[in-house]
């Protein structure tokens, strides 16, 4: 294991965050605050509590997930796409590092950033709504697993994309709709008959449900199901990344 390489990539990527602090941390915090003001305070005041949780508090786990997903994907995809785009990837390809080490470095940094962001958003949320976390360990577990999974997913996108448009298209066309329809703002129990079943095909439902369970002890699906599905997604993304390095796909000519 080339630990120095992992550490070097990780530090370098984290330094990039400090440089782009506004874009990486401040912007998501502002947008999440807006959600709280609009949905939590303005609309939530007129909504009945769901499962005994006020609407403002109900949307907190979903909002954190929303940021976690989009930020993990954009951090990780950009992190590996940028060196490919400017050509500095030559150094990684010529270094004595294995694919696993590269992934740990890049994905680890991307995931760390989004976990940090998730925690900041949680802290922001406490300014607007009273927060209760029933299963803190599970909360952290879901936070870490989701960040890792979607950072891996972002890494795959960053390698697949060969222009900036493609880099944005997957998050925009697939991930954002899935997160909005994934029960961030409502319980899927509230959906009418066929849509409830359709929603179960949306992977984000399981993530949000499990995460919300860790807060309020209640989710759309059983927590075991959420956890298993999260692990399945993680395994799928891992398999994709391993395949990329096995074949040199899009990295080596």
């Amino acid at each position: 294991m080339n630990l120095y390489a992992i550490q070097a990539i990780y530090r370098y990527e984290m330094a990039r965050t400090r440089r782009t602090l506004l874009q990486s941390i401040v912007a998501p915090v502002i947008s999440t605050s807006l959600y709280f003001i609009v949905f939590g305070a303005a609309i939530g005041a007129r909504m009945t509590a769901i499962d005994g949780v006020t609407y403002g508090a109900f949307i907190v786990p979903g909002l954190v997930m929303l940021s976690l997903l989009t930020q993990s994907i954009s951090n990780a995809s950009f992190g590996i796409y940028f060196p490919r785009f400017v050509g500095t990837i030559y150094e990684i390809l010529s270094a004595p590092v294995s694919g696993v080490e590269v992934v740990i470095g890049y994905v680890g940094a991307a995931a760390s950033k989004s976990i940090l962001l998730g925690l900041i958003i949680l802290a922001t949320a406490t300014l607007f709504v009273p927060l209760r976390i029933e299963h803190p360990l599970f909360m952290v577990l879901f936070l870490v697993l989701t960040a890792a999974t979607f950072s891996l997913f972002g890494f795959v996108i960053g390698i697949w994309a060969d222009n900036f448009e493609k880099l944005q298209v997957v998050p925009l066309i697939i991930v954002t709709p899935l997160t909005f329809l994934g029960g961030s703002f409502y319980s899927i129990d509230m959906l009418p008959h066929p849509w409830r079943e359709v929603a179960l095909f949306n992977p984000v439902v399981y993530l949000v449900s499990g995460f919300r369970w860790s807060f309020y002890g209640k989710g759309d699906v059983a927590v075991g199901v959420s956890l298993s599905m999260t692990l399945v997604f993680l395994a799928l993304c891992l398999a994709a990344v391993i395949a990329i390095f096995r074949t040199g796909y899009r990295l080596k000519k």
């Binding site: 550490q7 070097a8 990539i9 500095t88 150094e91 390809l93």
Partner: protein, 321 residues
Amino acid sequence: MLLSASPPKAVVTAEPIVCVANLSKTYASGFKALDAVNLEIRRGEIFALLGPNGAGKTTLISIICGIVNASEGAITADGHDIKRDYRAARAKIGLVPQELTTDTFETVWNTLRLSRGLFGKPADPAYLEQVLRDVALWDRRDARIMTLSGGMKRRVMIAKALSHEPIILFLDEPTAGVDVELRRDMWRMVRRLRESGVTIILTTHYIEEAEELADRIGVINNGKLVLVEEKDVLMRKLGKKQLTLTLQAPIERLPESLAAYAFELSPDRRELIYTYDTVDGSHGIRPLLHALDAAGLAYKDVETKRSSLEEIFVDIVRERS
């Protein structure tokens, strides 16, 4: 200098530091960029890979460094197979690619630290400082790379390549598009590196560069390694240089005292043309100029030129076929 443990031949040969065997590369487009290349680089030498654009120089270097996959063939670096034993092989190699590709938003120091770490070395600020001083960038260590000039960026790339103390350094067209002064600086740097024990493989399409720096020269054309030769031997083969002296006044014929030198008088009788060998010391220019002075011939201009690289390639290729 490392010697092979039991030389098979009577002569003791240095074990090659890079060994390329039967290397071929066909790109996905179907283009065959390398065709059965065999090459051995000696420990401690400066090897110049000389060839026109598109000859396959970058492809060859990229395969050795692990950036491009070979289609066929095997390579070892310092005895390590670059595929099976890629960690050990790559740790020995530094690469300065042809293109200036740097992370423009980062500082010089941070990119250097990344490079060293990537190659599996623990942080060593003192060593990196030395590297930066050697390439005259120490006072720019905290500058973002985008604020540097082209020549400085190239030196950043060199510093990055040296950051992990490689014993083999590849320089892909280190002086392409570089002005004369920077080229001289680069040459000095390359020589210094070699003195410190680093084996250097550089590509170039300037014959002067190969002549100036290299111990041995390989000529590559259309993906084939046409020949590999000691520079001195090759330079002799590469033919002749012409010295043209423009006289103050036209002369009728050559003075007797210059008969020993194979001068030619131009048709307009204003120029003396002397064709000589670049390597063979016996035809030194200095005694010749003395002889001219002694003969009382005044000249107002001196020019030397040699056959162009194209002509040389044509010659070599014709000679080989």
